[in-house]
């Protein structure tokens, strides 16, 4: 069934049908990978023409300051406008901060939404929930991340999981683990595959993707057979959700480890050094590059977390005091890294003709206070911030919405997080009235009823 060479490396697996995999796993509770898709397609809820669309969501954990980056207020008093100056860009519609010079050169490719806001508490977690799922988690309802909903609705396009998180899930930003990063009520079977490794380290490889050399085809088959023998002897587990999940994880693991395509996708050494360097030889840059490779090979949704924590790391969370970051830290470390990685990704996708089918969106959980605080930083501010979109059928070089003179509140076209999420769904070809099976099997529309995508963004 699996074709392995004597050295244990896999020579061919692409010929294997899905059914073979199901049998290979011989595990209960599968059929997890291509569930309601056919049905939804039949009902016309999914536009199959768009199902090769993909999305890369760059999540700017910590939250960048709009006044210092993409919504500058040069005419405001110094404690508002901050230390940086705007520069002209390739777009006639907007200027951008001098600390993002490479963004300026590709400003015709992306558009800014300068009027995003939310009304929940000004803590990281609320924004993480809403920006990744479209909803605040109230009443114990954990809404799925867009990427997980997509995996549920459209299944996988290749041996690779439909939704991958690079390089790691976000860690705690206060009390809890941030919510909104996983499949929520859809169940853990639709949780994203989390890389859990730094693609910038020298001999980067996906942890445990391939069997050790000495375990060849014969032994792998033997192990699988023996494991099935043990598992079929006890019937204590059939009903346990955790056990079903363990089974489906083993199935996915078999599938990914026997796939040439999967191995290729994660192999950054296949990229010319020049390309790797263009993205930046750091965790963020190489994650962006890896995101492109994954999308090229059929991954539908990649979430790139720019940072993993806001504590003790130089991040966008520029409170000005320890353990957070200073404005200078952002200027000298964060912005250059981000500028390089993002611009490389957009250029690369464009040059490869992938940008039309791949939406790249850069989100954050909130903005930052218009007024610089006594520590010389800016604090949390959910009342107004800027997000950006490129590719996936949207127009570049535009500005949607407007903030007031200090970047404190939207004055034109306020945009709520659910509209951002609706925009992503739309770009991915998901009808906004599509229903997911919510808690206790209740129908749950992907976004609140009546929510619209940001139409002005689309060409």
């Amino acid at each position: 069934m699996f074709k392995f060479s004597g050295q244990g490396s896999i020579t061919n697996c692409d010929g294997i049908s899905r059914r073979d995999f199901l049998q290979a796993g011989a595990l209960g509770a599968i059929g997890l990978t291509m569930p309601g898709f056919a049905k939804l397609k039949a009902e016309g809820k999914v536009d199959s023409k768009k199902s090769n669309k993909a999305c890369i969501m760059i999540f700017n954990l910590g939250a960048p300051s709009q006044q210092d980056l993409w919504d500058m207020k040069p005419d405001a008093p110094s404690e508002i406008r901050g230390p940086f100056k705007p520069i002209r860009t390739k777009s006639n519609a907007f200027e951008i901060s001098e600390i993002l010079p490479l963004h300026a050169k590709i400003a015709d490719k992306f558009s800014l939404v300068r009027s995003c806001y939310h009304t929940a508490a000004a803590v990281h977690d609320t924004g993480h929930q809403m920006m990744q799922t479209g909803r605040l988690f109230t009443g114990g309802v954990n809404t799925p991340h867009v990427g997980s909903a997509l995996e549920f609705l459209q299944g996988r396009r290749s041996d690779l999981p439909a939704h991958v998180i690079l390089p790691e899930s976000m860690g705690p930003t206060g009390g809890n683990m941030p919510h909104g990063q996983d499949a929520g009520f859809l169940g853990k079977a639709y949780d994203p595959f989390v890389l859990n490794a730094d693609p910038a380290v020298k001999d980067f490889k996906v942890p445990d993707l391939l069997p050790p050399k000495e375990i060849g085809e014969v032994r792998l088959e033997r192990r699988r057979e023996l494991r099935e023998l043990v598992d079929s002897s006890v019937r204590n587990f059939e009903y346990s959700e955790q056990a079903k999940l363990m089974d489906s994880n083993f199935e996915s693991a078999y599938r990914i480890m026997t796939s040439t395509q999967a191995r290729e996708a994660f192999d950054l050494t296949k990229e010319p050094l020049k390309v790797r360097e263009r993205y930046g030889m750091n965790r963020f840059g190489q994650s962006c590059l890896l995101a492109r490779r994954l999308v090229e090979r059929g991954v539908r949704f990649v979430t790139v977390n720019t940072f993993i924590t806001v504590f003790g790391e130089i991040t966008w969370d520029i409170h000005g005091s320890k353990p957070f970051t200073s404005i200078e830290g952002m200027r000298d470390i964060v912005a250059p890294m981000y500028d390089q990685g993002y611009s490389a990704l957009i250029e690369d996708l464009f040059q490869r003709g992938m940008l039309d089918d791949t939406m790249v969106t850069c989100l954050a959980e909130f903005g930052r206070t218009p007024k610089i605080n006594p520590a010389g930083g800016r604090d949390h501010w959910p009342n107004c911030w800027t997000v950006n979109f490129a590719g996936g059928g949207i127009k570049g070089g535009e500005v949607i919405g407007k903030s007031d003179d200090i970047g404190g509140y939207p004055t034109e076209r306020p945009v709520a997080p659910k509209e951002i999420v609706a925009t992503i769904y739309q770009a991915l070809g998901i009808d906004l009235t599509t229903e997911l099976p919510g808690p206790q099997g209740r129908p749950y529309p992907v976004v609140d009823f009546g929510t619209q995508a940001i139409k002005e963004l689309f060409a």
């Binding site: 009304t119 929940a120 508490a121 445990d208 000495e214 494991r227 994880n249 693991a253 078999y254 206790q440």
Partner: protein, 730 residues
């Protein structure tokens, strides 16, 4: 509430106050009920549109000033209340971002108009204060598809009561059983049990709804269940009420493996398994329980458990201090110190942090509010963090209580000791924590207690704090520890989410919870006694095999719920089965790289004092990082990374391939193939192989070429350790 009852309400209030509606008791509830004072609107920390209210109206004085005085008093028009901006906005007669909140001439509109007409009087010291909130029905057994209204009554300090159904805020815990709307109308949607909470003036009341299964009660199944102790009695009563039949008793081998893993975190050895299975005495399970409670591994297991709770962490503490903290925990576990004594010693620790390891608790929690929050989560299973900025929105904790409690910890100080890395902990004679709302220190007192500790006394405030915390009157203290111990043996607590005890998150079996707490108090907080009672119960000894009628039950004890072994135990059992110990590298930055220093060979993961160990295995299987006091730090959820690691990772594969491990010993033993397979099964799964297993597996060994014999056995062991039966406790 009908309009008529509102009139009655208005009449009552006016009769009570004989004047205008009270700001505190009439206007504030309206502002909360209609969302004005909620976090998304004016209750946000910065207010909304320049108008700021306290979240859910916890600050009467401040809100009154906001409504009547702020913005130059433009919100109210005393001579013509209907023209007040306050009302015009609420009914959206002028543009209002928050939309229309209620109708013109609605009861709330009139109440506010009357209040303005009366000169908008502020809160007064003489206002009656709410003393109790009551909801009817308190408990109801009903069917799916039923609709009914709740009735909420508030009692005040002047003796009068009001029907406040219309102004209460409602919340349902489990929408699959029942939903509640904003008017307090409940609809049952499915079967099971749920709780609806009603909130009014920072008070909470709950109504429990039970929708039992409608199948005929399986009387014979219940009749043959002989309760061993109070746990079984209470569980059976509950199961009867819900009409869920219990599963039968677990087999001896299942109980053996289960009790070992849940109590001491190791597998029974080959000899122990053989002996136990062969033993014919009737009380062998009780005897096993006694042995387990006395085993040295018991100390490892529970020291590890409490080290998770108390955050023993080499990234935050210097090595000597970390060891001193850990050894303090170990000594107490070994001596089976009563839980109340142990906590009291911890919270009143003074002196050198190297000599008295307990003091490191205060090094990790070096600030009064943080310390108060940690104490509350760790020992009361309750989060009070919300109340730092405002009254807890869903619970009873107020902002004042929070600062009163934190002020109990404001005099803890440290100074440098004589040796490097030594800190000396002491209580200063002065120092106060300021309540930011008033700018003054809040008179210190423990939670839920109204008499303050003297502010001038120089006694260490932690002494009365610890005394109150561990007193037998403090139900939360008992509930928290009972729930933690319960969760260890049953996978989830009597209150699910072990450290989330609150009125609105009730126990799956409240009488059982109360009885278990009483039992613990009677046993003088002897945790081993509680564990013994749990282990001996028929409930714990039930099979994990379900019946069609109890398959969906995960909370009420009708069967044992299988669950994945936690990271450390899994790693230890893999080492135990292969007889190939793990090397643990000390990891200064917790980056999973490790330094050159290692723990002595043979250390088990459960014996590590510290979570700061480089281990991909432990990390991907979800160990706790010990940064925050929260059960959520640990996860036992399976993931694809785990499946990949079991298949391809270096943990199982290296241990299987290691020289002179268990496999080599078996191959060298001259045992026949069938015997080898039998031993492998007994070692890994504590059971004999089935006919089919032994035939197929021993045939594989028999037909293997000599050079492939070892790898065949490796694959047999791999399949045992990769099976769900191994990865799970069941």
């Amino acid at each position: 509430m009908t309009f008529r009852s509102f009139i009655a309400f208005a009449a009552l209030t006016s009769a009570a106050a004989a004047e205008a509606p009270s700001f505190r008791n009439t206007i504030q509830p309206i502002l909360t009920r209609y969302g004005c004072a909620m976090g998304a609107c004016h209750g946000a920390a910065a207010g909304q549109g320049g108008f700021r209210l306290s979240l859910r109206g916890f600050d009467d004085e401040g809100d009154w000033i906001s409504v009547t005085r702020s913005a130059n008093g433009r919100r109210l028009t005393m001579e013509d209340p209907a023209r007040s901006l306050f009302l015009l906005k609420a009914v959206k007669a002028v543009p209002h971002k928050g939309d229309k909140r209620f109708e013109v001439n609605s009861p709330e509109y009139k109440a506010i108009a009357d209040w303005i007409a009366a000169g908008a009087p502020g809160p007064k010291a003489s206002d009656p204060l709410i003393v109790a909130l009551d909801v009817e029905p308190k408990q109801l057994v009903t069917k799916p598809g039923v609709t009914m209204s709740l009735k909420v009554t508030a009692k005040f300090s002047d003796g009068h009561s009001e029907d406040v159904t219309r102004w209460a805020k409602y919340n349902g815990v489990n929408a699959s059983v029942a939903t509640v709307d904003e008017h307090g109308v409940v609809k049952t949607t499915g079967r099971g049990e749920t709780v609806i909470s009603a909130w009014y003036l920072s008070r909470l009341a709950v109504s429990t709804l039970v929708v039992p299964s409608d199948a005929a009660l399986d009387e014979p199944a219940f009749a043959q269940m002989k309760p061993r102790n109070f746990i079984d009695e209470q569980v059976l009563t509950k199961l009867r009420a819900l009409n869920i039949p219990p599963s039968g008793r677990a087999e001896d081998h299942e109980f053996l493996r289960r009790a070992f893993l849940d109590t001491i975190g190791v597998l029974p050895s080959l000899e122990e398994t053989r002996a136990f299975l062969a033993d014919k005495v009737t009380d062998k399970r009780d005897r096993l329980i006694e042995t387990l409670l006395q085993r040295p591994e018991f100390v490892d297991y529970w020291s590890h458990r409490w080290s998770d709770l108390l955050l023993v962490n080499g990234d935050k503490l210097m090595p000597q201090a970390m060891w001193s903290y850990y050894n303090w925990i170990r000594r107490n576990v070994a001596a089976n110190t009563p839980w109340d004594v142990m906590v009291r010693d911890l919270l009143t620790a003074t002196g050198s942090t190297l000599e008295n390891g307990a003091g490191n608790f205060f090094i990790l929690n070096d600030e009064p509010t943080k310390c108060a929050e940690t104490i509350s989560v760790a020992f009361l299973g309750t989060s009070i963090a919300c109340a730092k900025c405002h009254n807890h929105p869903m619970e009873k904790w107020t902002n004042n209580e929070y600062f009163a409690f934190a002020n109990m910890l404001s005099r803890v100080r440290t100074k440098n000791g004589a040796q490097a890395d030594e800190r000396v902990l002491f209580s200063a004679a002065d120092g106060e924590l300021v309540q930011p709302l008033t700018g003054k220190p809040q008179a210190p007192h423990p939670l839920d207690v109204t008499t303050a500790v003297s502010m001038t006394s120089t006694e260490d405030r932690r002494v009365p704090l610890a005394k109150w915390l561990t007193s037998t009157d403090n139900k939360l203290f008992q509930r928290a520890i009972v729930n933690r111990v319960w969760a260890n043996f049953f996978g989830s607590g009597l209150v699910e989410a072990v450290d989330d005890l609150r009125v609105t998150n009730p126990a799956s079996n409240e009488p059982l919870f109360a009885a278990a707490c009483e039992h613990l108090v009677k046993q003088k907080f002897d945790l081993k006694a509680l564990m013994r009672t749990i282990l001996q119960s028929e409930t714990y000894q039930r099979s994990s095999i379900t019946l069609p009628e109890n398959i969906t039950d995960l909370r009420y004890g009708s069967h044992y719920v299988p669950r994945r072994l936690k990271a450390e135990i899994l790693l230890d059992t893999v080492s135990q089965v292969t007889a190939a110990p793990t090397t643990f590298k000390i990891d200064k930055r917790n980056a999973n790289k490790g330094t050159s220093e290692s723990y002595p060979m043979g250390f088990r993961a459960l014996q590590l004092p510290d979570s700061n160990i480089a281990s991909y295995f432990l990390k991907s299987f979800g160990r706790a990082d010990r940064v925050n006091t929260c059960e959520c730090e640990r996860t036992n959820e399976p993931s694809m990374a785990q499946a990949l690691h079991i298949s391809n990772g270096d943990t199982l594969n290296q241990k299987l391939a290691q020289k002179d491990n268990r496999l080599d010993a078996l191959l060298a033993s001259k045992l026949g193939n069938e015997k080898i397979v039998e031993e492998a099964y007994l070692i890994a799964l504590a059971r004999l192989p089935t006919e089919r297993e032994i035939t197929k597996t021993s045939a594989m060994l028999a037909t293997a070429k000599p050079e492939d014999r070892r790898t065949t056995l490796e694959d047999i062991f791999w399949s045992l350790m990769g099976s769900k039966e191994f990865l799970f406790n069941h």
